[in-house]
Symmetry: C2
Subunit: 227 residues, 2 copies
């Protein structure tokens, strides 16, 4: 499958590496290819610069947001939430229209220091903002409640005996994404919460997630719904 | 132990019944005792009027907010979030000062219809509002992430193999409340998230909680943190 990933950070890299390993044709989109490749210093989390990772993944193509979107049968929004709308606008409505967009971003606001708060919540969500800006795109929110490593390898925790959520207005798109979460990554327990407004709930899991990260001293955890 | 429960709803009743059964001296506080006892119709959820429940629990005393607070060694805020500050003001700062207050309330906003949003979130929380209004009270947020039945009987779900959180500024109060959650109700897994600002995270779990309630068609569930 032809997959376009919008965003070159840790999350985009983790998804791209796994999907490429599975044999998919992955293009990662960035604002400016030469700027991204010119970076030589680690990012804010101490991860090596993009070009180091790129050199280890030669099958994955780096291109502009617009080229990644045009290439894609399925688009994944893996930008930081604050930059999502600008990046997707650059990707281009015409290239995105009619496609499934898997939105894994969170509207984290680091401007007031750590831990982050949210830039939007409660009566709106990042996914709803994206859906309103791109009404012809089939936005499905998922994977935003776990760390990038867990996203692509849920079996790393308790044999994947924990939950992930999907939210979206298009039932067919949610069914397709649910199948892909299983076949791509091995997710076993997927809960369809409802329409795209239910993304408010999963984005609002982040404040307790960041506190649990602080308490547990690892991002390698997830929520299991126990009945 | 002498326990004062502020609030006569389902949550206050569940906590009062369990604590009375354990032999504690429970006083439930309400705005106006005669008004509460005069109600003859079910509440908005179809639960019988308070006096029906009271007649089945003769050991539990109904009194004013102020009397319940004055009686208490430990106070439990089981009001609806929108009414918490007014009720606690009536309970009286002098009677509350120096005591542990277990805050189980959520700032749910039903004014825009179902599902509820929150009246406060992201950069503040109900527990912080209470702590600011009553700086001499040892506010410990807990139990607000589960239904009243699960609060007092976590073993109803998977042998209590799931989690509850505590948030608060007073370490001794959190240690005490953690012990009480175990000895009173049988909670096995309790995570101390940090100071009272971490209540933002657990209150912000409510939007996904209400959507899960809708999807699972039962309030009998809880979150387990899987590592």
């Amino acid at each position: 499958m032809k997959i376009g990933i919008i965003g070159t950070g840790m999350v985009g890299q983790a998804l791209a590496a796994k999907l490429s390993e599975l044999g998919h044709e992955v293009v990662i989109g960035t604002r400016n290819v030469s700027t991204t490749l010119a970076r030589t210093s680690p990012d804010g989390y101490g991860n090596p610069p993009y070009r180091t990772w790129q050199s280890q993944h030669p099958k994955i193509k780096l291109a502009t947001f617009a080229e990644a979107a045009a290439h894609a049968e399925i688009v994944i929004n893996a930008t930081s939430g604050g930059g999502s709308l600008a990046a997707l606008t650059q990707a281009g409505e015409k290239s995105l229209n009619g496609k499934i967009m898997i939105d894994v971003a969170n509207p984290l606001d680091f401007s007031k220091g750590m831990p982050p708060s949210l830039t939007v919540c409660n009566t709106d969500s990042l996914s709803e903002q994206i859906q309103r800006a791109f009404p012809e795109v089939k936005v499905v929110k998922t994977l935003n409640t776990v760390n990038a490593t867990v996203m692509v390898d849920p079996a790393r925790l308790a044999g994947a005996d924990h939950h992930i959520f999907v939210s979206g207005n298009d039932a067919g798109a949610k069914t397709k994404v649910t199948e892909l979460l299983k076949s791509w990554f091995g997710w076993r327990h997927i809960i369809d919460l409802g329409d795209i407004t239910t993304a408010r709930g999963t984005e609002m899991l982040l404040p307790v997630w960041v506190r649990l990260f602080g308490t547990l001293k690892t991002p390698m955890f997830n929520f299991k719904i126990v009945q």
